[in-house]
Symmetry: C2
Subunit: 142 residues, 2 copies
DNA sequence: TTTTTTAAGGACAATTATGTCTTTAAATAA
DNA sequence: TTATTTAAAGACATAATTGTCCTTAAAAAA
């Protein structure tokens, strides 16, 4: 469904969000440990997310990655930033010209699934998910 | 969402189904042209589908690929045969132990989307889709 | 039987995704 | 100011996916 980079990226952002709520600013090493991902690859992904404005970063001692306290970030923002929006928009059979006027054989069937996915990702905020994490209701590794 | 191999595979099977309904048995060259896919790669995918019992094949002159007239094949069968069932079952964040007792942060949200996808793929038959193709209501390329 | 047509199979090549390492630049603290 | 900590950047390595090519085996037609 998502690329590995996107899986790690979502996990990383959720951890960063949860830490930010506690006024912490984890560095790559801490993030990689918390979400059980390869550290240098995680660094790459965090860089990309920071360049894309999805997360904020600060260099130097006690630096690291963080989110604004009132961030309105959604799952959809993270996914689009790493994997692009093909999963929300593209034809599931890869036809470049697929549309309702010129539909692929599964156009209608996938429309519903894709819209469901899109709506869910747009309506799920990172802060919501971080709350559940903090309460120990959900988990980021193992 | 799906691998390229799976996209080509679904398109190939739908073309084969539509041709089978007209008692034709297209060869790889005809399939690749009809669905606009690279011929040798398409051959590989058709081989795999034939080995998996998804489609039938016949060598020699006037040979090719075909389906039984009363095939009960669904989209889910094709996807599972090429990409496996991770898309229907696996954790969207890649956690190996994700479950309702030990859920990842997006477990509940994705449950619905994934179930929707699964149900749709299981309930959509290849013959249904081939009918629409034959009537010119849907398209396999461009 | 021979030739032709086709799928099957496997080796190979190219591309993309995943993952690592090293150097540089920024920021803080001493 | 200097040393230390950190992200940024880019080169590099590995693995997986995508794609090609060539040989073999099967089947039908001539």
């Amino acid at each position: 469904m998502f690329s590995k980079a996107c899986e790690y990226g979502i996990r990383a952002v959720l951890f960063i969000a949860e830490q930010s709520q506690q006024d912490k600013r984890p560095n790559v090493n801490e993030i990689a440990k918390a979400v059980d991902s390869p550290e240098p690859f995680t660094a790459k992904i965090c860089q990309k997310l920071a360049r894309g404005g999805i997360i904020l970063s600060k260099k130097g001692p006690s630096g690291g990655f963080y989110l604004e306290k009132d961030s309105k970030l959604t799952l959809a923002d993270i996914v689009a930033s790493i994997d692009g929006d093909a999963i929300f928009r593209g034809c599931s059979l890869g036809l470049p010209e697929c549309s309702s006027e010129y539909p692929c054989p599964v156009h209608d069937q996938f429309q519903d699934v894709r819209n469901g996915l899109k709506r869910m990702c747009e309506n799920t905020t990172v802060l919501q998910l971080a709350d559940k994490l903090r309460k120990g209701e959900t988990f980021l590794k193992l």
